[in-house]
C-alpha cells in the first residue's frame, strides 16, 4: 500500500496528476460538446454560467466528500443534511429576512454536530463509516420530517435564497455571473488548500492509505477522521443553503445526493478505499455528472430510462477508471 503513496507523492507528480485528472476532464469535454450540439445556448457564456451554477451544489458536496473518501471512509449522510438545511432554513427564518444570518449559523452548527457524531462513531466506536453514516442519514432525514411535520411548509426569505439564485449582471465577457459559481470557486479553493496544502491534508492521505502506518508515524488517526467528517458535513450545509436558494422549500431536495457526490468523486479519480484523490478531480467529476444529466435530459429520455442510463454510465466510468489505474499504476 505504501507503494501507492510513494507513487502519487514522489514518483512523478505531474504524471500522477495527469492520470487522475485527465479522464474526468476528457469525458467532461466530450459530454459538454454533445450538450452544446443538442442545445447551442450552452456554448454561450450565459449558458455555460448557468451550467456551472447548476453543478455548483454537487461540486461542493464532492469537494467535502473527497476528504472522507481519501481518509478511507464514506459519508452517506450528506443528502439528509442538505434536506435538513433546506427544511430547517424555512422553519428557522419563518419568512423573516432579518433571521437569515442567525438561521444559517444554526444550520452550520447542526452540520458541525452531525459531522462530529459521524466522525466519533467511526473513529471511536470503530463502526464502518458506511453503516454509521447510513444511520445518520436515516436519523437526520427523520428529524427533518419531524421538524416540519412531514410536509414542506413556509418559505425561505430572499436573502437566504440569494446564494443559489443571485446573478451579477453586466459582467464583462460572461454577461451574467451567478453568485453560486463564486461560492463554488471559494469552497473548491478552500478544499484544495485543505487537502493538498496543509499538514492535516497530508494526514488524511496517510490515514486513508494505511491507518496503522499513520498511527505508528504519530498521526492521531481519530482526530483526522473526525476532521474529515466535519468538513464533509459543513460542505453539505453549504450545498443545502445553495439548493434551498435555487429551488425553494422541498422535502426531497437531498434525495440521492450522497451517492451522486460519491460517484462524482469516483469519476474524478478518487479511490474508494482511500489514500488517493484530488479536489480538482472531485469537482471535475461533479461537472461531468452534471453534463451527463443534462445530456440525458436534452435527449428527452423518459425519467426511468434516464435513471437506468445514468446508473450504467456511472458503473462504466468507475470500472474504466479502475481498469486504467491497474494498467498504469
Amino acid at each position: 500500500m505504501t507503494v501507492v503513496l510513494d507513487d502519487s507523492k514522489h514518483a512523478s507528480p505531474a504524471a500522477a496528476f495527469a492520470r487522475q485528472i485527465n479522464f474526468a476532464v476528457v469525458v467532461l469535454v466530450v459530454l459538454y460538446g454533445a450538450v452544446g450540439l443538442l442545445q447551442p445556448s450552452y456554448l454561450e457564456p450565459a449558458g455555460a454560467m448557468n451550467f456551472l451554477r447548476r453543478a455548483a451544489p454537487l461540486a461542493i458536496l464532492a469537494s467535502g466528500q473527497v476528504f472522507v473518501l481519501v481518509s478511507g471512509g464514506f459519508d452517506l449522510s450528506v443528502g439528509s443534511l442538505v434536506t435538513i438545511t433546506v427544511i430547517g432554513g424555512s422553519m428557522l427564518t419563518a419568512n423573516d429576512p432579518s433571521k437569515t444570518w442567525w438561521a444559517i449559523g444554526v444550520l452550520y452548527a447542526i452540520g458541525l454536530v452531525v459531522g462530529l457524531i459521524n466522525g466519533a462513531i467511526v473513529a471511536y466506536l470503530k463502526t464502518p463509516s458506511f453503516i454509521a453514516t447510513l444511520g445518520t442519514l436515516l436519523s437526520v432525514n427523520g428529524a427533518a420530517m419531524m421538524w416540519c411535520g412531514g410536509a414542506p411548509r413556509g418559505y425561505l426569505p430572499d436573502n437566504f435564497r440569494m446564494f443559489g439564485r443571485f446573478m451579477f449582471h453586466d459582467v464583462p465577457v460572461v454577461k451574467v455571473f451567478p453568485l453560486a459559481v463564486l461560492v463554488l470557486a471559494a469552497v473548491a479553493a478552500l478544499a484544495w488548500w485543505g487537502l493538498h496544502g496543509t499538514v492535516f491534508g497530508r494526514r488524511v492521505f496517510a490515514v486513508g492509505d494505511n491507518p496503522r502506518a499513520a498511527r505508528l508515524a504519530g498521526v492521531k488517526v481519530e482526530t483526522v477522521r473526525l476532521g474529515a467528517f466535519v468538513i464533509s458535513a459543513l460542505s453539505a450545509v453549504t450545498a443545502g443553503v445553495m439548493l434551498g436558494g435555487f429551488g425553494g422549500v422541498s422535502v426531497d431536495v437531498g434525495l440521492g445526493l450522497e451517492l451522486q457526490a460519491i460517484a462524482a468523486c469516483v469519476v474524478g479519480g478518487v479511490q474508494l478505499m482511500g489514500g488517493r484523490g484530488t479536489v480538482v478531480g472531485a469537482v471535475a467529476g461533479a461537472l461531468t455528472l452534471t453534463a451527463l444529466f443534462t445530456l440525458l435530459t436534452l435527449l428527452g429520455l423518459p425519467q426511468p430510462l434516464k435513471e437506468t442510463a445514468q446508473g450504467l454510465i456511472l458503473i462504466a466510468a468507475v470500472a474504466f477508471g479502475a481498469w486504467r489505474r491497474r494498467r498504469v499504476g
Binding site: N50, G150, A151, R165, M167, F246
Partner: protein, 379 residues
Amino acid sequence: MMVKASVAAMLAAAALAGLASPAFAQNFDDPKEFQAAKDMLAMTPEGPAGKPWEQHVGGKMVDTSQYKKPGPYRICFSNASLENPWRVVGFTNMQAQVEVLKNDIKSFTVADAQAKDDKQISDISAFVESGNCDLLIVSPTTTAALTPAVEAACKKLPVIVFDRGVLTQCPVTFINPVGGYGWGIQTANFVVDKLPKGGKVLALRISPGVDVLETRWSAANRIFKEHVINVVGAEFTGGDNAKTKQIVEDYINRFGNIDAVWMDAGATSVAALEAFEDAGKPYPIITGEDQEDFLKKWKEKSLTAIAPTYPTFQWRTPIIAAVEILKGEPVSGPNWKLPQPTITQADLDKYVNDKMPPLHYAMCGCEDLPGYPQRWGGK
C-alpha cells in the same frame, strides 16, 4: 335468513370492491362527468348572494326532518389530515365557523387521521361508539377504504361527507365543489384562448392516481386534444418546489422556450415561474391556484394567468349543514355541489392581500369569520 343476508352482504361487498378499483380508475376520463361539470360551470348557483359556501349548483333538496332534535348540538369531525396548507386553511375556516354558530353547537370534537386509512376507520368507529356525537362530519383519506366505515356510521347517526367522496349514498349529503373536470375545463380553455399559434405547452402534475387530480388533467387534456395544442410534456413534480423548477428548467433548455405552463395544482407555480426568471426567458402563460404567493407574483409581474380554485370555503359548509340538518331544515343533497370560482385578471386585486402569508388560499371565504386575519397567519 341469516345465510341469505350474509350472502347478500358478500355480494354487495364484492360489487362495491369491483366499483372501487377498476371501474373507478377508468372513470378518471368520463365524458359524461366532463359534460356534467361543463353544464354546472354554466349554471348560476342558487343561494344567498356573496356567500358561495351556502350556495349550491343544481341538485335537489333533501328532507331532514327525521334528524330534528333540540340543540345545542354535539358535532364530531373525522379529518383525513392536516398535512398541507390547503387543509390547514380549510380547517381554520371550519373552527371559526363553529365559533359563529356557538349558540347552536355545544361541542366540536375533532380526530385527525394523519392521512392513514386505518386510523380514520378507528376514529370513526370510536366516535360512533362514544355516543357523544349528534352528527358526524367526515373528510375521507381515500374513497374506497373509508366507504364501509362511513356506511356503518350512517346506521347510527346522520353523516356529512365533504371534500373527497365515498362510494355510498348513505350520508345525508356529500359536499364538494364542481370538481376536477371543472378545474380542467376552466384552465385549459384559458390556455387555448391565450396561446399563440403553434405555442408549446408544458403540463405539470403532482402525482398519478388521485381522483381530483386525474380528472383535472383528463379534462384539460381532452380540450388540448380537441384544439390540437402542442403539449410538449406532462410531468409529475410530486408537488415539490425544487423538482418542479428542475423539470421546467430542463424543458426550457430542451425546447428553447415554453409558451404556457398548465398545472393541476398551484402549490409549486411560483417555482415554475422562477425557472423562467433564472433562464432569462419571458414569463409563460400560466395556470396556478389561489395561493397568495402566486397571486402576488401574478400582480407584480403582470402575468398572463388564471387561478382556478378548489375553494377552501367548502370547509365552512359542513358545519352550517350540520346545524341545519339537526334542526330538521332541508339541505342541498345528496350531492351538494358548491360553486368553484376562478380568479381572473378582472378580480385579481380583490384577492391579492399582502397581509396574508404566502401559502394562504385567497378563496377561503373567511374574511367575515371571527379572528380574521390573525387566525389565518395574517397581519
